[in-house]
Amino acid sequence: MSAMDCSNITRETLKRLFVEGKRFDGRGLSDYRDFNISFNVSNKAEGSARVKIGKTEVVVGVKMEVGKPYADSPEKGNLTVSGDLLPMASPRFEAGPPKFNAIELPRLVDRAIRHSGILDLKQLVITPGEKVWTVIIDIYPINDDGNIIDAATIGAAAALRKAMVPVLNEKGEIDYHQESKTPLPISKEIFPMIITFFRLGDSIILDPTREEEEACEARIAWGVSKWEGQYMINSCQKGEEIPLTRQHIEYMMDIIPKKFDEASEKLKKFF
C-alpha cells in the first residue's frame, strides 16, 4: 500500500504491463480472481463466512448482543463493525494497537453495509428506547494477497445473510441452548459490495495481488449495491496521496455496473 515497499524497477515494469493491458497472472486489468465462500466456519458465532479471492482469505463473524440503543436512534438496533489486521496475514501487519489501515478497514465495511440497507435495523428493537439488538461484525484477514477490502465486505454481507437471531428467555437474556430459527432482518435483494480501484501510472486496475497493491499509487473504494434495478453508490473513500483525474472517475463509473453484476453472478452459486 505504501509505494516504499516496491522496488522502482518492478513498479516501472508493472506500469509498462498495465499500459499494454496485461498482468503477471494473465488476467485483464479489470478481472477478478476466483471467489470462494464457505459458511458457518465458526461454531459460536451467529453467522460466519470465509471468503477467498485468489489467495486472499478473510474470516468474518457476526455476533449478537442485547444492548441499549444509541440516544439519537431509540427505534433502531445497533450495528458495530470491528476488525484487526492479524500479523499472520501478512508480514506488513504488526501486533499492537491498531494502526491506520486496521481502523480504516472496518469503517469502510461499516459504511458499505449500513448505507446499502441490507440490514433493517428498525426490526432489531426488543423494547423501544430500552433494549435493542447489537449486531457485531468481526473481520479477520487470514491471508493478505491484496484486495482485502473487497473480500471483507463480501464476507460481512455473506455472514449477515446466514446469521440467526438468538432466542431470548423470559428474563430477556440470550438462551444459547435453544436453537434459533429466526434469521436476521436481511433484504435478500441487496448485496452490498466494495469495488476498489487502484491507480498506477495512468492505468486503473481492479483486484490487485499484494505485489501490485504495493506498487500502486492511489486507491479508491466504492461501496456499491443494487436496489430495484438501480446501481447505488453507498460510500466512497480515497486512499494514498496521488490524486485521480475526472477521466479516471468516469471510467470507473462506466465499469462499476458491469463489474458488480459480474461479481454478483460469481457469488450467486454460493448462496
Binding site: 509505494a3 522496488s7 508480514p91 506488513r92 494502526k99
Partner: protein, 258 residues
C-alpha cells in the same frame, strides 16, 4: 499507514502453498521407490521424526542425533546418501551465509552507506567503501537511492547484522526488468545442477536472470512477453519441488507454452 518493519515473505508463502499436494506427491514417489529397494531414498519428515536408528548413520544438514536415533530438525525431505542422513528443507526463512549472492532493495541512505532490505531477519548494510568505484558522500543517493535494487555479496554475518559488498563480478545496481520472490529454499531447484536449469530458461526466453540466494529473482528480457514467460516457468519450477526429472518437465513446458 502501517510501518513495514520486516518483509519475511515466507510467512505468506508457506501459508499459501498447498502443502498436502506435496506430501501426497512425495508419498507416491516414495512408494514407487521402496518397491525395488529396502532403503527408502527420500521421504517427507517433520521436526522430531525419527529418520533412522542405529550407530551406522550420521546426521547431516537438517538432522541431529539423539541417543540411538537420527531425528529431523526441519520440515522437509529426508535423504540418505550412504551413511549420512540429511533433510532438505522445503519452507523456511533465508538464513544469510558468507559469500551468498543476494538481491536487496535500498530502504535508507545513511551517512556512510546504504541500508538494504534482503528479506532476512537482520538488516543488511552496504558501506560506501564497498561500492565498486569512489563515491562522494554528498552524492550517495545519485549512485543508489531508496527503492533501487542491487545484487550484492554477503561478506560477513555478525551480531550487528549483515555486511554487504558490491566488489566483484556480476554485482551492482539493477536498472531494468523487475524482481519477484520465491521461497528461498527452492533457489537451488531454480538454478539446477551447475546452473543447468537457469541456462535452459535463459536460452528459451532470451531473458537475463539473476537468482539471489534470498529468493529474490531479477528478470530482464527483450520484451514483456519474454519476461512474463520467464517468471511463469520459474513459478512452475518452484511448485514442483518433489518431481524428479524436472528438466524434461520444463522442456515440455516450453514446448506447450511456445
Amino acid at each position: 499507514m502501517i510501518k513495514i518493519y520486516r518483509e519475511e515473505d515466507y510467512i505468506l508463502w508457506s501459508y499459501t502453498m498447498p502443502m498436502n499436494n506435496y506430501i501426497n506427491e512425495a508419498h507416491k514417489a516414495e512408494e514407487a521407490q521402496s518397491e525395488d529397494s529396502s532403503v527408502k531414498k527420500r521421504r517427507i519428515v517433520i521436526p522430531g521424526e525419527v529418520i533412522a536408528t542405529g550407530e551406522d548413520y550420521l546426521p547431516g544438514e537438517g538432522a541431529r542425533r539423539e541417543g540411538d536415533n537420527v531425528l529431523a530438525s526441519r520440515f522437509g525431505l529426508a535423504e540418505e546418501a550412504g551413511r549420512v542422513i540429511k533433510v532438505i528443507a522445503i519452507t523456511g526463512a533465508f538464513i544469510p551465509r558468507r559469500n551468498n549472492v543476494i538481491i536487496g532493495r535500498v530502504t535508507a541512505v545513511s551517512f556512510n552507506g546504504w541500508i538494504i532490505d534482503v528479506d532476512s531477519a537482520s538488516s543488511a548494510f552496504l558501506p560506501i567503501d564497498e561500492s565498486p568505484r569512489f563515491i562522494n558522500k554528498s552524492e550517495m543517493n545519485q549512485f543508489l537511492d531508496i527503492g533501487e535494487v542491487v545484487v550484492a555479496k554477503i561478506w560477513s554475518v555478525n551480531a550487528r547484522g549483515i555486511d554487504l559488498s558490491l566488489k566483484g563480478q556480476g554485482l551492482g545496481k539493477l536498472d531494468k526488468g523487475f524482481i519477484f520472490r520465491i521461497i528461498p529454499n527452492r533457489v537451488p531447484r531454480v538454478i539446477g545442477r551447475e546452473g543447468s536449469m537457469i541456462t535452459l530458461i535463459k536460452e528459451n526466453t532470451g531473458c537475463n536472470i539473476t537468482v539471489g540466494q534470498n529468493g529474490w529473482i531479477w528478470v530482464s528480457g527483450p520484451s514483456l512477453e519474454a519476461e512474463i514467460k520467464a517468471r511463469k516457468v520459474i513459478e512452475f519450477i518452484v511448485e514442483k519441488v518433489y518431481v524428479s526429472g524436472l528438466t524434461e518437465l520444463v522442456e515440455d513446458w516450453f514446448v506447450k507454452n511456445k
